[in-house]
Amino acid sequence: MTGHAGHTMTTLSRTLAGALIAVAFWAMAPTASAVPSFARQTGMACEACHTVWPELTHFGRMFKASGYVIDNLKQVKGVTPQRDEILELSSLPPLSLMVQVSGTQLSKPLPDSAVNAKSQNGTIAFPQQVSLFYAGKIAPHVGAFIQLTYGYDSGTIGIDNTDLRYADLAVLPDDQSLIYGLSLNNNPTIQDLWNSTPAFGFPYAASASAPGVPYGAQIDGARGQDVAGLSAYVFWNESLYGELGMYRSAKQGTTGPLDSTTAGGVLKGGAPYWRFAYEHNFGRHSIEAGVYGATFEIFPDLGAGFGQPLAGPADKYQDVAEDVQYQFVGDQHLVSFEATRIHESQTLNATFAAEASDSLHNDLTTLRAFGTYYYKRKIGGTVGYFSTTGSTDATFLANASGQPDTKGWIAEVNYLPWLNAKLSLQYVNYSKYSGLRSNYDGAGRNAGDNNTIYALVWLSY
């Protein structure tokens, strides 16, 4: 802690930072998806690639690593006289639609955003989200997962998670496999194969009208659809996975070139991304352990009037994470467990210089662990624990306690009348929110007041 607090500017930046964080995380409702167009393309039922969507089985991971190109449809083909393939198009475009309809009930309604009153409780989102996917093969060795989403909260249609891939296979001596490929995507970890990493991690869907976890690492969804990255990966013998990549700011809804007025901050140069994992399959069991991380240098957005030129000091966020996954995939019983711990070291060169943080160095640690059981892929549920802790910095975090600590547990029951339809009831319980159990906002609101019941109808077709 240093003595920067108390400046007029600090008060302003606190307000603005608070607003930005709120916007960032409210907009961060997960959009994990399963895509029936893959089923149409492969002719295989959802169960081949998913335990219950969107969680992937080993085959699903291989399908993704192989570039979404495994197909069993009649193809429109072009070949050279040497029989090299120069065109391969599915006779039907791999399109899918996803619809989410939800209801959200908070333990206590949130304060009105303008006057001294309560907001409405019992928010109905019809639809919460509608997504159109182009997901499947687009050429030999090239596949796409492109999601266009209408969100009820934004009221607009925008680009959502997108992952374009090139992949090929080398047959090594003794018929061992080596898949190698490239991924061009817009959300760090969206390209990952395991459900223990953020982009396709639990909860797979969450309310867009309930207060979520207010602080998170950059790699933990904060940069989703805000960057573009190219990574190269190898997957040896279906067990050892390595990936290196680089992300760069790629804003949507902003006229380029990016400058000091760009909302949400701009990455300085490229942000390196890395991922290594080992998977072992035995019998009906599959285990994975891995590490991943990225380093983001950001010219921060400190709000109107405090535009930072895209030069000089930048905030540095160094994210290092570990993850594990276990799956048992039986015909009747399916069990899985996923966990990740993300540690972020923050060196706030620009923010601190602008007196918008108390400290130059902060850190943030997020832990999530969740276990899932399904009976015959029909009925099941998940119980999970989440915790975010970190340095005290009242100016930077813009909250009453000066701490980011937010902890709780989440439980969800699901019923799938058909493999592509999911009815969910989710409960989120907070034991701590923004550093405090009670009166976390200085206006009498307790962590438990944010406890959320969330009912969801989720259809994919």
Binding site: G43, A45, F59, N72, D175, Q176, S177, E238, G283
Partner: protein, 207 residues
């Protein structure tokens, strides 16, 4: 005369070589099949056809005729057990005959392994049923068609070393006619659940 003899020998050699080549899959089909086996099929059926997951059958050393017939049955959607519908109808849906033959040859030429050894008493009971059948249930000896060593005969599949859980699931599918094979439906109808388990355990332990 000498020249005529040499020509005859050369023609004979060419014919022999020609016949040998006709038996082999087309080199392009063979390369396609190897890539498919390593990059796609192997994800479930294991490297070189030795699957570790009992849900998916081991294909190493399987009878090529049987493999080709099954792939064609998947492609034609005539094999109707649940995993065939969910997985293989799609997977085999677009395979050409030449690729099917090359895949069958690929797996037929892979070395088999011995499966898991189960309870000795169970295996012994299974051996008895396999070799002698069950007079009470009207069940013929499995060995009569699948061979005394369970390596398969003609179009009848190899069963030695197969996952017991897979064999059990197939016997149940034959019994309920989800997998519609008249001969096996008749055989499986005479088998009780514990007898199926014994035969499956015996087969998994066979080299």
């Amino acid at each position: 005369m000498m020249k005529r003899s040499l020509t005859a020998i050369a023609v004979a050699c060419a014919l022999v070589v020609g016949v040998a080549r006709a038996d082999d899959p087309d080199p392009i089909a063979r390369a396609t099949a190897t890539r498919l086996a390593v990059g796609v099929c192997g994800t479930c059926h294991g490297p070189r056809g030795i699957s570790q997951q009992p849900k998916y059958p081991r294909l190493a050393s399987q009878n090529a005729n049987y493999l080709a017939a099954q792939l064609k049955a998947f492609r034609g959607q005539t094999r109707g057990d649940p995993d065939a519908i969910g997985y293989m109808w799609g997977m085999a849906g677009n395979l050409e005959d030449s690729t099917i033959d090359a895949l069958a040859q690929y797996y037929a030429s892979q070395p088999a392994i011995v499966g898991r050894h189960a309870d000795a008493a169970l295996v012994a009971r299974g051996k008895s049923i396999y070799e002698q059948g069950l007079e009470s249930g009207g069940v013929p000896a499995c060995a009569a068609c699948h061979g005394p060593d369970a390596h398969g005969v003609g179009d009848f599949p190899r069963l030695a070393g197969q996952h017991a859980q897979y064999v059990l699931k197939q016997l149940n599918s034959f019994q309920t006619n989800m997998r519609n094979v008249a001969v096996m439906h008749g055989v499986a109808q005479g088998l009780k659940s514990d007898e199926m388990s014994a035969v499956a355990a015996f087969l998994e332990a066979q080299p």
